[in-house]
Amino acid sequence: MSGLPPYASTGQRVWYYTFRVICGLIFFFLIAPIVVVIPLSFNAQDFFTFTPEMLRLDPEGFSLKHYRDFFTDSGWQAALWNSVRIAPVATILSVSLGTLAAIGLSQDHVPARRAIMAILISPMIVPLIISAAGMYFFFSRIGLQGSYWGVVLAHAALGIPFVIITVTATLVGFDRSLTRAAANMGADPVTTFFRVQMPLILPGVISGALFAFITSFDEVVVVLFVGSAGQKTLPWQMFLGLREQISPTILAVATILVVVSIALLTTVELLRRRSERLRGMSPS
């Protein structure tokens, strides 16, 4: 489908290239903000502005001071550390509970399936500001407001719908006779789960985990309400950076995160290709 067949008419040819150009423009739209952010993070000034010096490519206009700021400022470092402490725990919580529940939901004859599904999906459909305010009042009452576990629980709840959706989707295509066969051959349910079912639904679990992680790592509304000074995460620090003092440090942070995520995504892709090669599969 991808290549242009040699017998294509002129009209088809024109359309083929126009279509590619359109797609290219949309991809550019997707990354345009990132393209803007990266050079500005080297700005020598404390504003989000392309200065005349920068446009002239004058070295005077560039500086690493915002990166220095990020690595030396205790506020930013504490925020980074908090994000690193909160997001993985919230992810583990939502992935473990969410995967179990998704497996339960995929069985036949689940009573009140629709209603249960609606409840489990609800953190995604309830507007964030309502969830945030509700958790804020309720967690205050039970003493969780402003605590590490309060933020972790809140973020785990927000991540769960993504896990449910992705894992349920992979389970739709799951052949149930495989678990029966395993049980037939004497495997107990736990072994069956970890040795047979888990490896097959792993892609769904991983992509659910990624969504859950990002939900927590980039979440600013709920943490602003539920957290206190001790749980100030990176997005919160960025929010303060925008509100109290516009400082390109947040652009430096964003650039660092973009570089890290490109590295991560590329590594994953390379590993995937390597395993395909090792298993002797042609790229699908």
Binding site: I22, P33, Q107, I130, I160, F211, V220
Partner: protein
């Protein structure tokens, strides 16, 4: 034997009737499924459903008036608000008693603040009277009607007493009326004057803009999803990184980046001026309005549209299109009659995701929306953290939630929530 097969139940291997045995197996299966779901269900109920319910209850909760002013509320019951006369002395005496104990507990300003939402000025009436209330001598036989009006002539306004009477019940519809631009007047519910109507227009605007965002997401995501689904895996995976990358960039950073791009001295305008499409003194206004919000939010939500579309398109065999063409269909007919209908579930799933997420956004509209491009969530946030009218925020939230739930319900009926796929 023969009579058993005619009338008796069919038996399972262990001798129990098959029907019962099957029922038991089914029950066990149901139990097992529920056991797997139970932990998460419990978790969501406690950490999410209860908090949201608690929040929504505030939209009708009004016990502050009857708790703070118990004697006044009882004494006011028999007063006819439409008479135009002030209530009798017993009501004033009850108010003096209530104010004295409320001022001692420092809660008189809270009730003043509550009533001030309905009738501006009551806040200071309670605050000013409260300062003297701790020294009230209830036994001295003072005529409280004269005394209170002497302290502040606000007490001589029947409208103040009408407000207290109207809002004395522990449950109120007042916040909801306010949220739909109405109020309780002397003759029941009435529309607010036009210069105070905000929320219904805002809700309409929120829905309309969310729809625009969803449509632009569909238009932009379709070609991208198609090319991702039809390129060889290696190239597709590399392009996928471009789709996922914005996901990994903080929402706040992306929004600020759009500000840099769209503002009048921004990158896009600079480029347009530089290539001569736009003159320097007629730079385009593409931020702090609806356009700015739609562009920035389309960008932020686009991956949520691309991923479900992509996963649906991946499952459509290429052979269908070839078959259609070999049967004589033109490119367009083959696409429109064969390929497109099969992608509708993907479009549906993406649309509902994008629409529901869009409707609840508030940070991005606040930063790039100016005055015309903000959403109802912005007002909710404003009432929660700035004006502190939590009841009104809850009522607005309840209305917004109801809209979302109707959408969700419709979607579940038409497409089924199981068919949503993310990547």
């Amino acid at each position: 034997m023969s009579d058993m097969t005619d009338t008796g139940p069919v038996l399972a291997a262990d001798g129990t009737p098959l029907k019962r045995s099957l029922a038991r197996a089914l029950r066990r299966q149901k139990m097992r499924a529920l056991m797997l779901i139970a932990p998460l269900l419990l978790f969501i109920l406690i950490s999410f459903i209860l908090p949201v319910g608690d929040m929504l209850y505030r939209s009708v909760q009004n016990d502050i008036v009857s708790k703070t002013l118990p004697n006044t509320v009882v004494a006011l019951e028999s007063w006819d608000a439409n008479s135009g006369e002030l209530p009798e002395e017993a009501v004033f005496a009850a108010m003096a008693t209530d104010l004295k104990s409320a001022a001692a507990a420092k809660i008189h300003t809270k009730v003043g603040g509550r009533l001030n939402y309905e009738n501006p000025g009551i806040s200071s009436l309670f605050r000013k009277t409260g300062r003297k209330a701790t020294k009230f001598d209830l036994e001295a036989g003072i005529v409280w009607k004269d005394e209170l009006i002497d302290i502040n002539d606000g007490w001589g306004d029947p409208d103040v007493w009408r407000t207290i009477q109207t809002y004395s019940s522990p449950i109120t519809a007042g916040y909801f009326l306010n949220a739909i631009d109405m109020r309780v007047g002397p003759d029941g519910a009435e529309s607010r004057p036009e210069e105070e109507q905000i929320y219904m227009n805002l809700l309409k605007r929120t829905l309309w803009m969310s729809m625009m965002i969803t449509i632009s997401c569909i238009l932009l995501a379709y070609p991208v999803a198609w090319i991702l689904a039809n390129l060889p895996a290696r190239q597709a995976n590399l392009l996928m990184i471009l789709v996922l990358l914005p996901f990994w960039t903080s929402l706040l950073v992306r929004t600020s980046a759009w500000k840099i791009l769209l503002q009048q001295q921004g990158v896009i305008n600079d480029i347009l001026v530089w290539i001569g499409l736009v003159s320097d003194d007629a730079r385009l206004v593409i931020i702090n309005n609806q356009f700015g919000t739609i562009v920035a939010m389309t960008h932020i939500l686009l991956p949520f549209m691309i991923l479900p579309m992509y996963s649906v398109m991946q499952t459509i065999p290429v052979t269908y299109l070839r078959a259609a063409k070999s049967l004589g269909a033109t490119d367009w007919t083959a696409f429109w009659r064969v390929y497109f209908p099969q992608t509708i579930p993907g479009i549906g799933a993406g649309s509902i995701l994008v629409f529901i997420l869009a409707i609840g956004y508030y940070i991005t509209p606040a930063l790039v929306g100016g005055t015309k491009g903000t959403f109802i969530s912005n007002q909710i946030a404003f009432h929660i953290s700035t004006s502190l009218n939590w009841g009104l925020a809850a009522a607005l939230g309840a209305i917004l939630l109801a809209v979302v739930l109707v959408l969700y319900w419709a979607y579940d009926r038409i497409v089924g929530i199981d068919n949503v796929k993310l990547g």
